[in-house]
Symmetry: C2
Subunit: 377 residues, 2 copies
Amino acid sequence: MQYKVIAEDRCSNARCGVLHTEHGDIQTPIFMPVGTVGSVKGVHTRELRDDIKAEIILGNTYHLYLRPGIETLKSAGGLHKFNGWDRPILTDSGGFQVFSLTGTGRKITEEGVTFRSHIDGSKHLFTPEGVMDIQRAIGADIVMAFDECPPGDSDFRYAKKSLDLTMRWLERCVKRIDETSPLYGYEQQLFPIVQGCVYPELRRISAEHAVSLDRAGYAIGGLAVGEATEDMYAMIEVVNEILPKDKPRYLMGVGTPQNILEAIERGVDMFDCVMPTRNGRNGMIFTSQGTINIKNKKWEREFTPLDPAITSYVDEQYTLAYLHHLIKADELLGLQICSIHNLSFYLWLVREARKHIIEGDYAAWKSVMVKRLAVRL
Amino acid sequence: MQYKVIAEDRCSNARCGVLHTEHGDIQTPIFMPVGTVGSVKGVHTRELRDDIKAEIILGNTYHLYLRPGIETLKSAGGLHKFNGWDRPILTDSGGFQVFSLTGTGRKITEEGVTFRSHIDGSKHLFTPEGVMDIQRAIGADIVMAFDECPPGDSDFRYAKKSLDLTMRWLERCVKRIDETSPLYGYEQQLFPIVQGCVYPELRRISAEHAVSLDRAGYAIGGLAVGEATEDMYAMIEVVNEILPKDKPRYLMGVGTPQNILEAIERGVDMFDCVMPTRNGRNGMIFTSQGTINIKNKKWEREFTPLDPAITSYVDEQYTLAYLHHLIKADELLGLQICSIHNLSFYLWLVREARKHIIEGDYAAWKSVMVKRLAVRL
């Protein structure tokens, strides 16, 4: 897996590049649609490729482990074969879901995490080694380290203890991935996750530790979990001073279009977030002119495209008035249109960012855009 | 609106033809996907046209009148403009929904039906004239008469009384449609609906009355509402002896693939039914080899196309195992795939029927198919 920086902004840390994987090249900065259980909700594979122009999608290890289960994925020959997506896939490690979706009965030990399935209450154990094996079976191109995800408001003492455990687990992940082989004949690379809550010194320790393990790319986790936006940006700056410039940097689970542009300015290359699909299913659409609550009566007779920027065919095929009607009437098609539009918009936004980095006016363009994107139409 | 019969089966009443409308030609026999509230649930307009190869879709007057409402549809310039479907549309009259969806407070008088909305309980009056005006505003190419839909098990006395009312209402519908003009510049034709429950003499009276009004096409209503399948076929035979051979015949709300092939053999040209979409959303898929309950564990690792006949791209893009997983995991994409597959299959089936009518071996082909389609895989 090779990463090549092809342009750097003159006035900021923004850069663009190409990440080469055996399932195809990824132009960075990139947004990765989230396909939790092996499908991006409401979106066909063909639409992901041709309309949204996704270059890489996410799968969730926790969800895929529970359903369809590892044996089924192995029989299929991996997730790419199972869901028919033949471009790159990244899987998270389940660390975040184990903490956010499972409640009573969860137990963290040195060995790993024992938890109960949110579906049927059955008991499971995730260890760093086990999670690497699961991601081998899923067959993602990029696999994530298994980490502990402390709450956003953790005090320093807990954050430090948690980070120590995460670093020990990371070393076990690295060991396991290095002593096992891919199951389906193509390369899989492990990205460590930098943790440390909002404490710069912990973030630095974590980043330096991750870098010492010399991997193909690095992720920044544990942000956008309730901390102030300024703290998030500050942590990205702290970490990106340490992460190597010649490797891709992935900011996990972030965020709004404005967050993404700010993080790109601070040197982040890869993003994922459920916001475009989850908020979309709730009737919120992101456009080049600001956000729209499509349920609002003001759109009832607005027979115009969803977004003048026309980031995908749904923007022209359907009108705001029709989408308003579909969402009000709880029609499935409404959820589908919002999902396709929002994902197309996010992918359009990172392509625009890339263009402006290459043209050398990223910082100026970003300043205009973050104001415009914050408008509530 | 011209209808031309282009081939007749030698051994049965099956025929095929072309129905010309100002929104395009319809090759009969045809199945019409149901777009209740102005969208076919889970299916994009583009998919309807290019993948499912629908030639005409349905809208429901009752639903569209309540949401988005007639004023919005008028502002849009009619339903075609509102939902972006530029091919023919047929709207039912709301007669069936008024009886099936509204409960307490419904009152039938000579004037019409007073009912309460199933959405918010608000009170409304449908009259034959009002329903014609609503369908003018929706702008369907084919509009249906407003009829009373008696229960499937009505006794002769009630069925006769109901039919008398339906016939008086039909005359009012005809008068209204003939003294008003289309709102959007293209022709709209009214199809009378033949009623009469399972009583041949009532069916004959109704059919002769409808024919005397000399319209562009005729519908057979009030079937598949609980009567024995043999009774349904018998009623179709009775009615089609009377309906003119040079006009299209539309069997409303029917049915299974086998029902459709049997009705085609008895001279029916047009069909609609929610079964492919509704049952699809419940995990039932219709294939050229029989029906599949995709929730069944036997499909868990069946990494093969949905239907060897490959009636649309979803059959090849996805496998039975993946669809099983999606439906088990309540993923939206599962509903979408089942809907597209089933509708594509229904459209494929009527195209196959047409081919065999032209080739002259319809009856023989049908006998083989109805057995095969009845298989539970």
